[in-house]
Structure formats: structure tokens, C-alpha cells
């Protein structure tokens, strides 16, 4: 069984970020692997450990995004692919899905496991958009996966904690939810060994995706970023911890009495 897991190096906005004329200073960002991808990587590793095969991790990102790939390799993924061209900076989920679709055509995995969403943009769209482009069956927001021959049985999360158990045929795509498993940690030796594992860097052109196609595929363009309007906002409780707690005690006593 061959599993392809697209991962993302997600941005974390620093406390003292700089925003000027609607443009964010890139130095205001820290990077870490997208929380949801910890679970999709783990799900892929477990399936392949049980059934044999290969886990390929892929990302659409610049050199810094290799951290996410190396982390997955250290946990046991077999090889990694990074696709990049500077025109992909700020790419929207549909453009990313378009690039990933070209990679899936080349790799022909049995299963693609994406995260439900990314922690920075939270579009919750790339995986299902990719399945659409491939015309593959898919299920979004999955919390358990079983493979039996050529079919999958998955538990799809619903609102309020309910779930729907579904069966579908391979090849398929699933978006994996947090809590689906317990992601492993890589030990130091594995982290070192991961440096020897293959990490291929390709540009979209090599996968047959040119700039015009990317522009057509993109679903949106960023005009500007702004700090949110806070509306009425919260009344700020002033003072040190002692004063803050004192005010909380007062508010609670008053509200609970009414």
C-alpha cells in the first residue's frame, strides 16, 4: 500500500508582529508543522506498518518547509518531495491542490491522507479540493481508518461528537482530524538517520504545471491583511494576579446570585 501524505509548515504569528499598509513583515512569523498533519502522518505510518508499502510525504513550500518533511521522515516516512516555485508564495488552497494533483498523478498512491485544515490559514479545503481534481472518492474530518483489501472503512466526525461510519473504495483521499491517533515522537537516532532519506525538490513545471495553469487554478488573491476590529470588546481586568482574581471572584458571586 502506498500512502501519500501532504504536509504543511504552518506559520505562527509572533506577539509583536509588524503590519504596514496591509502587508505583514515575514519576520513576524515562526514556523512549525501543521498540528493536523501530525495525525495524518501517524495514520499513514500505521497503515503501512500493518500492510507493508511506502509512505511518501510531500509539501508545497520553500526551503524552510523541509523541517516538516524531515520530521515526518524521522518518524518513519520513506521519502519526501518538496514542490516549490516563488510564484507559490501566498498560494491559496486551490492552487496548492492543483500542484499536489500533478504529484499524485506521478506517484499514483492508493491513499492520500491530508490534514482537515492548517493551523494558520484554516481553510479546511486543500484535501477535498485535491480529491475533486483527481475525481477520487473522499471523506472529510475522519477520526479512524481501517483498510480491508481494496476498500476503506472510516469514521467521519459529525457535529456534537456524533460520527458516521462509511465505506469507500481505493484509491481515495481522507482528511484526518486531531485525536485520530497518538502521534509518535522521533528519537535522536531516527532524526539523524532521516538526513539520509531521499528528499526530492521539484518545481511545478517538472510536474507539468505551468504558471498560467496555476493562475487559473488559484481561487483567490490576497488584497491586504488587517488587525481585526475588536467591536465592543472585553472589559479588561487590571492589576496583578491578586487583583484580577479578586475581580473574577466578585463577578462570579454577583452573576451566580442573579
Amino acid at each position: 500500500m502506498k500512502v501519500l501524505v501532504p504536509v504543511k509548515q504552518a506559520a505562527v504569528l509572533e506577539g509583536d508582529f509588524e503590519l504596514e499598509d496591509g502587508v505583514l513583515d515575514r519576520d513576524s512569523l515562526d514556523w512549525q508543522i501543521n498540528e493536523w498533519d501530525e495525525f495524518s502522518v501517524e495514520a499513514g505510518l500505521r497503515l503501512v506498518e500493518a500492510a507493508g508499502g511506502e509512505v511518501v510525504v510531500a509539501t508545497v513550500g520553500d526551503e524552510d518547509a523541509e523541517d516538516a518533511l524531515r520530521a515526518a521522515l524521522a518518524k518513519g516516512a520513506d521519502r519526501a518531495v518538496r514542490i516549490w516555485d516563488p510564484v507559490l508564495e501566498d498560494a491559496d488552497p486551490l492552487a496548492v491542490a492543483h500542484v499536489l494533483a500533478a504529484l499524485v498523478e506521478r506517484e499514483r498512491p492508493d491513499l492520500v491522507l491530508a490534514g482537515v485544515q492548517s493551523s494558520d490559514a484554516a481553510n479546511a479545503a486543500t484535501g477535498v479540493a485535491l480529491a475533486g481534481l483527481l475525481d477520487w472518492p473522499r471523506v472529510a474530518v475522519v477520526r479512524s481508518i481501517e483498510v480491508e483489501g481494496g476498500s476503506l472503512t472510516v469514521e467521519r466526525e459529525l457535529e456534537g461528537g456524533a460520527a458516521e461510519v462509511l465505506r469507500l473504495e481505493l484509491p481515495a483521499l481522507l482528511t484526518v482530524q486531531t485525536g485520530a491517533n497518538e502521534p509518535r515522537y522521533a528519537n535522536l537516532r531516527a532524526i539523524k538517520q532521516a538526513r539520509q532519506k531521499p528528499l526530492e525538490v521539484v518545481d511545478p513545471g517538472a510536474l507539468g504545471v505551468d504558471e498560467v495553469a496555476l493562475e487559473t487554478a488559484a481561487g483567490s488573491r490576497l488584497v491586504s491583511l488587517a488587525a481585526p476590529a475588536r467591536g465592543a470588546g472585553a472589559t479588561l481586568l487590571q492589576g496583578g494576579a491578586e487583583q484580577v482574581a479578586g475581580q473574577i471572584v466578585e463577578i462570579v458571586r454577583e452573576r451566580m446570585a442573579s
Binding site: 486551490l94 491542490a97 475533486g132 473522499r138 458516521e164 465505506r167 485525536g179 481561487g219 483567490s220
Partner: protein, 321 residues
């Protein structure tokens, strides 16, 4: 040229999703801004039963697509929307940013090379064309998006972003026959209710809620003790439940429980939209977070930019008195 607004309403087993009236409100606004006529489509075996509820002031046309499987099936829904978009060429398609639509709307947008924005909090149609707004970097900033060169733009709206539309309308109603019932690609084996738990957090008047600001599993017991001392019930955000530190019946949010206590005291919770969905209607919300930009402060009535451990220690002391 494309024209008009197509609202994809959502019918669940509980009936018409309340958010549908919010989508219609957004559609009425876009219509007033010149986006064209407003059509509401209901794709469900029981679509006919909900026609009156979506025939609201400003709606020009209601379409019912009833020849579909009895349960929601994402690939069938995709085929329905694709066919409707092809036949009617709307300028804007509106749907909710819900569990159901996440299973197919991104596929519709990608396959049609349409414009696309999910979890949008605003949408407009003006001299600059169609624009949408959505959160960025964990809702700590707001992004404005444009859709150059797109005939059709698909926008998934965050629930609560618009006040629901009201007032009876006079729309033309049409049952549309689409050959899509056989497009299902998943088979339902079972529907599972949420596991029954020991605690009913909806019954509590005072909830102490802890989030990922709490760093160690061992500390959860200390907060449980604090909750007891304050007369509160302990609840949590999802990551603590996912990690197995606290039971699922105590999870607040979209995929957990929706609560409306008299007081909700949140310690170390950032305020992700899925968490807010479960607690924003609490009567009094007090948030303690060390990050002044945390989105939880936008729904809180009282906020303290402070370390949760220091505040918790003081609460422990002061509730003893």
C-alpha cells in the same frame, strides 16, 4: 456572463439548519449591491418540507432537489451543485462553513476553477468586484480577498457572521430533477451517537474551562479541585480531550457540547471558531490569556491578559476565604 446569487441551504436530520437564514441574509445584501437575483437551493429528500422556511423576503426563487439518497452524501451534493452552477451560472455561490459543506464545496470550486473563500466573515459585491474577508494566522488577523478573472465565486460563510434573514417572501418555487442519485461513492455502515458520559456540562451554571495553556496532564486534577472549590464544573477545549487528559463529555465546541452557563471562565483557551461555536452564548464570559491578541477576547465580556497559573493560585486562595 454570470449573474445572480445561489444559496445552498443545508438540511440536517434536525431540520433546516438555522445558518441557512444567515446565508439568505448575505444573499439579500449581495442582491442589493447589484449581484443579481437570489436563488435558494435545497438538496435533500425532504427539501419540499422546508420551502416556506427559506422563502424569505428578498428571495426570488427556491429550487428543491429531492431525488437524492436519504442521508447527506458528499459526492451527490457535489454533483448537484456542479450541475446547478453549470445550468445557472451564478456570480456568487454561498454555503455555510459546516462539516457537511467541507466534504464537497472545495471540490466543486477546484473542479470549476471558481473563485473560493472558506470560513468567510464578510462578502461584498462592489466597484472592485467581489470581495470576501476571513481570518488569518489563527484569527489573529483578517485577510481581504479578491477573485480576479472569476465568473463564479464560491464563498463558505462562518455561522453567526450575518443576522438571519426574516419576513415572508414571494419566491417562485421549482422542483428540479437532476440525474445525480447514483453519484454516491460512499456507503453508510452506521451512525454513531456521541458516547454517553458521566457529566452533563450543559446543566452547569458555572463552567471553569481549561485549554492548551495548561501544560501538564497532572495539572488537570488541580483545576478539577479548583472548580470544586469555586462551585464550578470543569470543562475543556478539544486538544486536552484529544490528548486523553480529560473526558470527551467535558469538551466544549462544535464537535463537543454547546453550553450556555451563567458564567464561563476560560483559562488558556485561544478562542478558535470551533470552540467559540460552543460557548459564545454564555451569559458572562471571562477569559484569562497571556496573549492580548487571542481571539477569545472578542467574545469575552471580561478579559485579563495574565498568566493562568498565577490567577488560578489566587483564585484558590480567595475562594477559600
Amino acid at each position: 456572463m454570470s449573474d445572480g446569487v445561489l444559496v445552498a441551504g443545508e438540511v440536517t436530520r434536525q431540520g433546516l439548519r438555522p445558518g441557512t437564514a444567515e446565508l439568505i441574509a448575505a444573499g439579500v445584501k449581495l442582491k442589493e449591491e447589484g449581484a443579481g437575483s437570489l436563488t435558494v437551493a435545497l438538496i435533500d429528500v425532504e427539501a419540499d418540507a422546508h420551502v416556506d422556511a427559506v422563502n424569505l423576503a428578498g428571495v426570488d426563487e427556491v429550487l428543491t432537489i429531492g431525488a437524492v439518497p436519504e442521508r447527506f452524501e458528499a459526492h451527490v451534493a457535489q454533483a448537484a451543485l456542479e450541475t446547478l452552477i453549470e445550468q445557472r451560472r451564478p456570480r456568487i455561490v454561498l454555503a455555510g462553513h459546516t462539516f457537511a459543506s467541507l466534504g464537497f464545496m472545495p471540490a466543486v470550486a477546484a473542479r470549476g476553477s471558481h473563485g473560493f473563500a472558506s470560513d468567510a466573515t464578510a462578502v461584498s459585491c462592489g466597484p472592485d468586484g467581489i470581495r470576501a474577508r476571513r481570518g488569518a494566522y489563527g484569527d489573529r488577523l483578517v485577510a481581504e480577498l479578491e477573485f480576479p478573472g472569476k465568473d463564479t465565486v464560491v464563498v463558505l460563510l462562518r455561522e453567526g457572521a450575518f443576522e438571519p434573514a426574516e419576513g415572508a417572501g414571494s419566491a417562485a418555487v421549482e422542483a428540479v430533477a437532476l440525474e445525480i442519485a447514483d453519484r454516491a461513492r460512499t456507503e453508510r455502515i452506521e451512525l454513531r451517537d456521541p458516547p454517553a458520559g458521566d457529566v452533563d456540562i450543559t446543566a452547569a451554571d458555572f463552567l471553569l474551562a481549561i485549554g492548551r495553556g495548561v501544560e501538564e496532564e497532572e495539572q488537570v486534577a488541580e483545576f478539577e479541585e479548583l472548580a470544586g472549590r469555586m462551585g464550578a464544573t470543569l470543562s475543556a477545549s478539544r486538544p486536552l480531550v484529544d490528548a486523553g487528559w480529560i473526558s470527551r463529555d467535558r469538551q466544549v465546541g462544535q464537535s463537543g457540547t454547546t453550553v450556555t452557563p451563567k458564567v464561563y471562565l476560560a483559562l488558556g483557551i485561544s478562542g478558535a471558531v470551533q470552540h467559540l461555536a460552543g460557548m459564545s452564548k454564555a451569559k458572562t464570559i471571562i477569559a484569562v490569556n497571556s496573549d492580548a491578541d487571542a481571539p477569545i477576547f472578542s467574545v469575552a465580556h471580561y478579559g485579563a491578559v495574565a498568566d493562568l497559573y498565577e490567577v488560578a493560585d489566587e483564585l484558590r486562595r480567595q475562594f477559600d476565604e
